[in-house]
């Protein structure tokens, strides 16, 4: 337990980043990360609480804990259209984490809590001259993260059918900076927006074990409206413009966390079920993200209610993975996935430079003693490239990003 406490303390300082589609993060169990981020049909440990509450009751041990962290090494480059200009995404280490604890009061019932960070976006742009890059009037840096706390119950009927539901309590923080093009004698104006919020959603799923070796799962995580009420909006502008940009304004910011519908199928086979192969189809209801709305409390000619169009479209993420038990003590994993961008070409915004990504993963678990597992995984995104324009601001160019994401986790069941 002390190890988990230490880990949790460390993780409290963590932040997240987006990669692949939009601002959703898929790193919720290092074991599952190793096999292409699949998990909806799996019930190996307490991470089922998140991936599919319907599967948690299938975990055999009375107590089960799982925790871990991924280290996102992100790189990105921007080449402006028609201009001899490049900027880079500042290298910042982002560390989405997870912690799950499940307890089975009876053989068929499981209760537990899942804490993780399914949504987030953190980036900062710079060029050779510093932070005043060409897209600074759209975004300089942004840190947005949502952490969810999900108390969950799961019940199984015989060894065939499981059902579970969790109440999701999400907390979110946002902190963003951008420049304002109205200039004073010292140059650009600027604005910082900073605030936090919370809201509720739910996570419900079913799991079916129809036949020997087979497992099917279906999970729905609801949309959560993150409305940051009264965030601080601090404008720094030339003195003569302070009437138009009040220094200590407040702003309501509205950002939806999209719903997910996941379907998973997996099959165990071979001697002692040495092999497992699985598939996940994850439908993300991105079209709910129509625009990022800022509604300022003190309204002036320059700041009022603005909606920054996003016009995301629904997407399906396809994930495949496999694992192989070399021995009782060692399991190896591999997988891959295709994560299409929900962003249209004329709405590609440096605030969330979402590119269609292909990821390959591998993983390893070492079990030094029964019930205890040290898990490691490595996720490599192939490095997508995309031309796009954010047409409302006429900001055009080519983006390229790449990610290397090692993860480390511990699981203990008894």
């Amino acid at each position: 337990m002390r190890r988990f406490t230490t880990l949790l303390l460390f993780l409290c300082l963590a932040a997240t980043t987006s990669f692949g589609g939009g601002y959703q993060v898929g790193l919720h169990s290092v074991r599952n990360t190793g096999m292409g981020l699949i998990g909806t049909s799996l019930s190996y440990d307490a991470s089922s609480l998140f991936f599919n509450p319907g599967g948690a009751a299938f975990v055999n041990e009375k107590w089960s804990f799982s925790g871990g962290v991924s280290l996102i090494f992100a790189r990105g480059t921007f080449q402006a259209k028609d201009v001899n200009y490049q900027a880079t995404l500042k290298h910042e280490l982002n560390t989405p984490f997870y912690f799950y604890a499940a307890f089975k009061p009876t053989k068929n019932l499981s209760v537990g809590i899942a804490v993780n960070a399914p949504y987030g976006n953190r980036l900062a742009w710079k060029d050779d001259a510093g932070e005043n890059w060409q897209g600074r009037y759209l975004i300089k840096d942004i840190s947005f993260k949502a952490i969810t706390y999900q108390p969950t119950v799961s019940y199984k009927f015989k060894e065939i059918f499981g059902v579970g539901v969790g109440l999701v309590y999400a907390t979110g923080t946002v902190d963003m900076n951008k420049s304002i093009s109205a200039q004073g004698v010292t140059g650009d104006g600027s604005v910082n927006i900073k605030g936090n919020t919370s809201n509720f959603g739910f996570n419900a799923g079913i799991m079916v074990h129809p036949d020997k070796g087979w497992s099917l799962g279906l999970d729905y995580r609801s949309k959560i409206e993150m409305k940051v009420k009264g965030a601080d909006a601090n404008f720094t502008v030339a003195p003569s413009l302070s009437g138009n940009f009040p220094a200590n304004n407040k702003v309501d910011v509205m950002l939806p966390l999209p719903a997910n519908l996941d379907f998973g199928a997996s099959y165990e086979f071979g001697k002692n079920k040495q092999w497992m192969v699985g598939l996940n189809l994850c439908y993300v209801f991105w079209s709910t993200y129509d625009s990022l709305v800022f509604d300022f409390e003190t309204k002036t000619a320059a700041v009022s209610r603005t909606a920054t169009p996003a016009l995301y479209t629904d997407q399906m993420i396809v994930r495949v993975g496999a694992q192989y038990k070399i021995s009782k003590a060692i399991i190896i994993r591999a997988g891959g996935y295709y994560d299409p961008s929900p962003v249209k070409n004329d709405y590609l915004n440096p605030q969330t430079p979402s590119l269609t990504e292909v990821g390959v993963t591998c993983g390893l678990s070492v079990n030094p003693f029964k019930g205890f597992s040290i898990d490691a995984a490595f996720l490599y995104l192939m490095g997508a490239k995309r031309d796009g324009t954010y047409s409302p601001e006429n900001f055009a160019g080519t983006y390229r990003t790449g990610f290397s994401i090692p993860g480390i986790g511990l699981s203990y069941s008894f």
């Binding site: 060409q134 003569s240 006429n394």
Partner: protein, 466 residues
């Protein structure tokens, strides 16, 4: 566990190497930009904020273009730089010149007719001179030779017209001081000094003053005639083409002058029929105007048009669409009855028409517009027949009326808030020059198949607010 962590970290650092994108592939496609010469007027000279000043010149349209040309073999671009940031602007007055510095924005109290801040206090942006040096100092700076030696690739001379490109003596002390300060000799013409440089590529944006100068004076009487324009414009292009190095080039047409803030700003605030009268006041004014022999001008109860002096000296009432110029002293309207009757003359006030130089009426606008269209046809035809690149600035600047955005910078043709024009309401600010230079570069790339990179608008300053 430490070992695994170490392996993973090493792996991550190894593979998270920089994600490179190919840089912009610049190419001249055979275009020789080694000696780029620009011929034009204040718009190309880097004149802004009512004066010629150092950073204005550094942000001139052709200098921004030349900076981009350097990526594809462009050479040095010398400009006749003036030594001061305050700069010099001037107006001819009887017996000489009246000089002043560039204008900057001030944010000051609005005053009532007695010169006292209004209550409740309101403030607004007012362009004003950055400093007030002695006339002799400014005159000296105006005529001082440029801080860098010639020959000058930027042959933009504020005030130049198609004809004055060919005026011997335009560079003398009796000519245009802005040319006299860098002409190779007092009798050299602008075109001569351009042609002897044997440009490999030229840029000619001329003709604005052939309509604008008249419009700025509130009249259509000073327009260049079509035959003269045609003759001199054709001569200008052909002189450059015959300069020796068989140059390629780009020309641009003339934007609609009446859409610029200089002509639109006051009219948005002050209606042409802003005289509100009761029946007693109307009767009094009718009596007064009859007394002065202008019984044709009728005042009535309610809203009435202002009275102004037409170019031919006659008095008339204004009509919808007539434009007030930015130079119009609106205080005189508010405090002295300009456009109605001069209240300061007692016991009987005197009719007080708005001087014609502050009004561009509908007929004048129509004549200017017609002439502008004729000039633009000439420019288009000359460009087409000489197979030159052509930038349709008239169409392009019209797009700004409803607003344009570049990398998150919004620009339109509004005065001050629009972010496109400088404080004089006629010339562009550096950001405006940059988007214009990029438009020229696009036209060059289209014509010659080159890939010259555009300049980043975010690197240029807009209007500076106090």
């Amino acid at each position: 566990m430490k070992k695994i962590l170490f392996i993973l970290m090493s792996l991550a650092i190894l593979s998270a190497c920089e994600r490179k994108i190919d840089e912009f592939k610049a190419s001249a496609n055979g275009l020789d930009l080694s000696n780029f010469v620009s011929v034009g007027n204040s718009l190309t000279a880097g004149y802004a904020d009512g004066a010629l000043y150092l950073s204005g010149q550094q942000n001139s349209i052709p200098n921004i273009m030349a900076t981009q040309f350097k990526t594809v073999g462009g050479g040095e671009f010398r400009q006749p730089l003036i030594g001061t940031e305050e700069g010099v602007g001037f107006q001819p007055v009887p017996g000489g010149l009246y000089c002043y510095t560039k204008r900057v924005l001030y944010f000051t109290d609005d005053l009532d007719c007695a010169g006292v801040p209004v209550v409740p206090e309101t403030k607004s942006f007012k362009p004003g001179f950055v400093s007030n040096p002695e006339q002799s100092t400014l005159i000296q700076q105006l005529y001082a030779p440029p801080t860098v030696a010639g020959p000058y690739n930027n042959m933009g001379v504020p005030g130049a017209t198609v004809q004055t490109l060919f005026y011997p003596g335009y560079g003398s002390s009796l000519g245009n001081p802005y040319f006299a300060r860098f002409a190779t000799s007092p009798l050299a013409t602008i075109m001569h000094d351009a042609v002897v440089q044997q440009p490999s590529f030229f840029y000619l944006w001329i003709g604005n003053n052939d309509v604008l100068a008249s419009a700025l004076a509130g009249t259509d009487a000073l327009l260049t005639s079509l035959p003269v324009f045609t003759q001199f414009y054709t001569m200008a292009v052909d002189s450059l083409l015959a300069s020796g190095k068989n140059p390629k080039g780009i020309v641009a047409n003339i934007p609609d002058v009446t859409s610029i803030p200089f002509f639109t700003t006051i009219s948005q605030k002050l209606p042409w029929n802003g005289v509100l009268l009761d029946s007693a006041q109307a009767a009094g004014l009718n009596q007064l105007y009859s007394l002065y022999g202008h019984s044709d001008i009728k005042w009535k109860k309610g809203q009435n048009p202002f009275v102004y002096t037409k170019t031919d000296g006659t008095w008339a009432q204004m009509h919808a669409g007539d434009l007030f110029l930015l130079t119009m002293p609106t205080d005189s309207v508010k405090c002295k009855g300009m456009g109605i009757a001069d209240q300061s003359i007692q016991p009987i006030p005197r009719p007080y028409p708005i001087p014609g130089k502050f009004v561009l009426d509908g007929a004048e606008q129509a004549n200017i517009k017609a002439r502008l269209d004729e000039f633009n046809t000439v420019i288009y035809n000359v460009a087409a027949s000489r197979n030159l690149a052509f930038a349709d600035m008239n169409t392009y600047l019209r797009k700004f009326a409803s607003g344009m955005v570049f990398d998150g910078i919004k620009m339109n043709t509004s005065f001050i808030s629009g972010g496109l024009f400088s404080t004089d309401g006629v010339h562009l600010n550096p950001r405006g020059n940059c988007v214009t230079a990029n438009f020229f570069i696009q036209a060059i790339n289209t014509k010659y198949g080159s890939s010259i990179p555009q300049a980043s608008v975010t690197n240029y300053t807009g209007l500076v607010f106090p």
